[in-house]
């Protein structure tokens, strides 16, 4: 629609820059925290969307990561622990035109807030959930989280954690989120591209972001995300392309039945990455890849297009109004049966 196009035309929404998205608040993360990089990429990416600042809202829970909204020159809501998706749900349903990001942590999003995450995703609400996974509770100073590995020694697990961790990507796929991706703090290009893809997606987007907490869980992703080893140990997923990895893209992924195996890049069995497949069988398989057994996948695991919850709700309102006419308060108040007293 031309009219809509004009709404975001050059004179009305001047091209913004990174610093337009920085608020006047001092950032309060530890020096060296991975959160800084995510903030910076977000501020850099947003101008690409051509959206006005006032139409963007960051909603977060509680945690170091959940301080994010304070640093964005957009609308923001730093809510309570685990509940950000619920506030985002109400806000999105009330105001479908807003662009909403939910920022959450591995504790906020998968421990106390796991259920809300699951339900917001399955409803295909058109919001963008960014889960900063540092595999630790940062804000409360270092207890294990639902993504911490078995055996992890923390303040609350002095003899090691005995909990089998949750796999955030697998959770999102189970909820049949229509956009599911993973990226990490130290690859700004990949990070920013992934954020942008999520923002463009219509429907529920889920992005797991590996984020280093240099105070309480330093280096937990280092073995495969550090620059020198990345090439060999990460599998960058690219839609429509064969699944190759290695510094020279020399290796690839193939399937034996439902079991993955690593082959040479030129093996004809190398599979093509197809995030648009409705059944997330391969996605689920990829979600389980762990270093050192397998390369760790980065990128979009799944992206399919389905009507969002908000669209369907809007449609019901349209349909009802067409079928029954716009609501008539007097008729509603009167109900089906009235009588008169004179």
């Amino acid at each position: 629609m031309v009219v809509t196009d004009r709404d975001v035309s050059a004179d009305e929404a001047p091209r913004l820059s990174k610093k337009d998205f920085a608020s006047d608040q001092d950032t309060r993360w530890c020096p060296g925290c991975g959160d800084y990089s995510i903030l910076s990429q977000m501020q850099r990416m947003l101008p690409n969307l051509g959206r006005k600042r006032e139409d963007i809202v960051f909603v977060s829970g509680i945690g170091c990561s959940s301080r994010f909204p304070y640093y964005m020159n957009t609308y923001g809501f730093h809510t309570i622990h685990g509940r950000a998706p619920t506030l985002a749900t109400g806000l999105k349903l009330a105001r479908p035109e807003l662009l909403i990001f939910v920022v959450t942590g591995d504790g906020d999003g998968l421990s106390i807030g796991g259920n809300h995450l699951l339900h917001a995703l399955r409803r295909n609400l058109d919001i963008n959930i960014l889960l900063f996974n540092n595999r630790i509770y940062g804000l409360t100073k270092g207890q294990y989280s639902p993504t911490s590995e078995v055996g992890k020694v923390t303040k609350s697990s002095p003899m090691g954690s005995i909990e089998n961790p949750l796999n955030p990507i697998a959770v999102a796929l189970t909820a049949e989120a229509t956009f599911v991706a993973r990226t990490f703090d130290t690859d700004p290009v990949h990070l920013s591209a992934t954020l942008e893809a999520a923002a463009h997606h219509k429907g529920a987007s889920f992005v797991e972001i590996y984020q280093n907490c240099n105070i309480f869980n330093d280096g937990t992703f280092r073995d495969f995300t550090d620059k020198p080893v990345r090439g060999e140990r990460l599998l960058y997923l690219e839609p429509g392309k064969p699944m190759l990895f290695g510094d020279d893209h020399q290796r690839g992924l193939a399937l034996s039945g439902a079991t993955p195996r690593i082959v040479q890049a030129d093996d004809q069995d190398v599979i093509i990455h197809n995030p648009a497949e409705d059944a997330p069988t391969v996605g689920n398989m990829l979600a389980r890849f762990q270093y050192p057994d397998m390369p760790v996948p980065m990128g979009i695991f799944r992206q399919v297009h389905k009507p969002s919850y908000g669209d369907m709700l809007g449609q019901q309102i349209t349909d009802a109004t067409e079928q029954r006419g716009p609501g008539d308060l007097a008729a509603l108040i009167a109900g089906d049966n009235t009588w008169h007293v004179d």
């Binding site: 006032e54 619920t86 506030l87 749900t89 109400g90 999105k92 108040i333």
Partner: protein, 626 residues
């Protein structure tokens, strides 16, 4: 024992005029007593009586057929004068099986009319009800005017002709019973027949079966000369106007839609089903053509979260639930307190603690509304006093929430939710507009800058250019809204939040005294207790007591003149269906030795209980002025 009448004698036309009658229908959950009651209510409405009803369901889940736990009842009181309660003890009881008799007979007045379905008094059913001998035979019902009718048999026979199955034919027994009662109380079959025809329009055989049973019951009453005379309660002289029947839950849902129109805002309702609040969700979900957005959340926390999110976006954000749900929402309500957003929380209270008695009524959540959050977390609390008042008070909730930028908790209860009364339709044009202005001007904007009168903070919603800001649950610096750990600011904000709620007293009506404005006893009631309280006060006054009523619809803050009102009476009596929650507040605030009348058995007050308490108080005290 009263002799049961023989069938076939000719009908006499003698009629006894009465000012008021109270009937209770009781039977198994499967017997359709709520339906019978509702039909009777409609007939009564059309007839022009004032009335009030009290449905009483068993637990949410079906109990075994014929068991005591499975008994369902519906009471209606109707009158030639204005009434406020569904009556205390019924004058007439329909008992469809032994269990219903066992549970309810003891409340029937001496000499009351007792109509039983003789067919259901099998030995199996008697045993299930815990009878060791058949009460129809053993003389234990001698105090009542017992009328035994083979209802199942007669209804089946009447209905069978329409060609429905044997089972369906039997199911018409509630309509047969209703027919009998219509005859006894001189009601017109017309509205019920119309209802049947509409309801089962697609099932002509069922229509016929039900009509046949209803008419057969009526005819049976007439031909069997069931009582010495039938009773007639003349129409009431209600105020002129157009009326409908309304329950509290219906009025609440409609009131929210009205608030939407009065404010011009969107209405968002986030809820998770729970008895007895679910019907509000059901109603609102069917108003899609009003643009109402309902959201059935995954739990109560999500429901309130979504409502807060909607409020942040500039909608009327409402969440509805019952007590256990409010417990779950308490952390989130605290967030709305801190972020100073308008949020409406409907609590349709039920019996507690814990899961408690889900289908029973109670006023047990007043202190939870006030104090059920961490920290100093003041909110506005209001309570409707009758089914129809739910309409006005939910509009009031919306008004106050936006007026002061605060959560408002609306305390309805299971009794108000389900009880029905005739309700004069409001004149929409007379309803007050709800003024909401979103802040627009960047020059004057700060998220926690306040209106000097109301202390409401500026309300700027996403989408407003140049007003980007962030709010949240950490303490905020007044004005800027930045996170603040400053001790003085915290004290200031604690005081400001309290003051903001206190100032709501400036914009709510003064407390009215119903009756003389000084006297021996003041009955101070709140919420659903109004009906019983006003009835009791009027009666006690008629009996010579110097008693008045003051009824609180605003619980926090109290109306500004409450202290003055209290000071005009020797004694204050506070009837509540809890263990004394308003009483605690009144004593603490005013240091008045208020007496409590407390009943926590899942049932609303009988007005006679309040009359007795008034009389007892009166006799124990020495008045200090003439």
């Amino acid at each position: 024992m009263v002799e049961s009448p023989t069938l076939g004698s000719s009908a006499k036309k003698s009629v006894v005029q009465r000012e008021r009658a109270t009937i209770r229908f009781a039977g198994d959950s499967g017997d359709g007593m709520q339906l019978a009651g509702n039909r009777f209510t409609d007939a009564t409405a059309v007839f022009g009586n004032d009335f009030s009803t009290l449905p009483d369901f068993p637990a949410e889940i079906r109990a075994p057929a014929g068991s005591l736990a499975g008994v369902s009842s519906f009471q209606i009181s109707f009158s030639a004068r204005t009434i406020h309660t569904p009556g205390d003890a019924p004058d007439a009881l329909v008992a469809m099986n032994p269990a219903a008799l066992k549970v309810h007979a003891k409340e029937l007045i001496r000499g009351g009319l007792l109509i039983v379905n003789k067919d259901a008094f099998t030995s199996a059913n008697l045993k299930k009800a815990g009878y060791t001998s058949n009460p129809l035979d053993d003389g234990s019902l001698a105090d009542y005017r017992l009328i035994e009718v083979p209802i199942t048999q007669l209804a089946s026979a009447a209905a069978a002709e329409s060609g429905v199955s044997k089972q369906d034919a039997e199911r018409t027994k509630n309509l047969f019973a209703l027919g009998v009662v219509y005859w006894l109380f001189d009601r017109d079959l017309g509205p019920s027949i119309a209802w049947i025809e509409e309801k089962f329009a697609k099932l002509p055989a069922v229509v016929e079966a039900n009509k046949a049973a209803l008419k057969a019951g009526h005819a049976y009453g007439e031909t069997a000369e069931l009582a010495d005379a039938h009773v007639s309660v003349p129409p009431a002289s209600l105020l002129p106007g157009t009326y409908r029947t309304i329950t509290g839950n219906e009025a609440t849902a409609i009131g929210l839609v009205a608030a939407k129109e009065l404010s011009g805002l969107q209405l968002f309702y986030g809820s998770y089903p729970i008895t007895p609040a679910s019907d509000i969700l059901h109603s609102l979900a069917s108003y899609r053509n009003f643009g109402v957005k309902t959201f059935q959340a995954e739990d109560e926390i999500a429901a309130v979260g979504a409502a807060i999110g909607a409020a942040f976006g500039g909608s009327i954000g409402v969440t509805g639930t019952s007590g256990p749900g409010v417990a779950l929402k308490s952390e989130s309500i605290g967030l709305a307190v801190m972020t100073e957003l308008p949020l409406i929380v409907l609590n349709v209270q039920r019996g507690g603690p814990s899961t408690g008695l889900p289908t029973k009524t109670e006023q047990g959540d007043l202190l939870q509304a006030l104090y059920g959050r961490n920290g100093e977390s003041p909110v506005c609390v209001i309570a409707p006093r009758s089914p129809g008042d739910c309409f006005y008070m939910v509009i009031e909730a919306v008004r106050l929430a936006f007026h002061a930028m605060t959560p408002v908790i609306f305390l309805s209860d299971g009794y108000l939710a389900n009880t029905a009364e005739p309700w004069p339709l409001p004149d929409i044009s007379q309803l007050p507009k709800i003024d909401v202005t979103f802040h627009q001007d960047p020059q004057t904007f700060e998220p926690y800058r306040r209106n000097p009168d109301t202390l409401a903070r500026q309300y700027a919603i996403p989408g407003t250019p140049a007003l980007q800001h962030r709010i949240g649950g950490l303490e905020k610096a007044d004005g800027s809204g930045n996170v603040s750990y400053d001790p003085d600011n915290h004290q200031h904000m604690i005081d400001t939040r309290a003051d903001k709620i206190a100032r709501i007293a400036n914009v709510i009506p003064a407390l009215e005294i119903e009756g003389p404005d000084t006297g021996d006893v003041l009955v101070l009631s709140w919420g659903s207790t109004y009906g019983a309280a006003i009835t009791a006060v009027e009666q006690a006054r008629a009996d010579g007591a110097g008693v008045s009523l003051a009824h609180l619809r605003h619980l926090n803050p109290f109306p500004a003149n409450l202290a003055d009102v209290l000071s005009r009476f020797q004694t204050v009596l506070i009837p509540e269906t809890n263990s004394g929650q308003l009483r605690l507040l009144v004593r603490a605030k005013f240091l008045v030795d208020a007496q409590g009348l407390n009943k926590v058995n899942g049932q609303p007050f009988n007005s006679s209980e309040i009359v007795d308490a008034i009389m007892a108080l009166r006799s124990t005290q020495v008045p200090t002025h003439a």
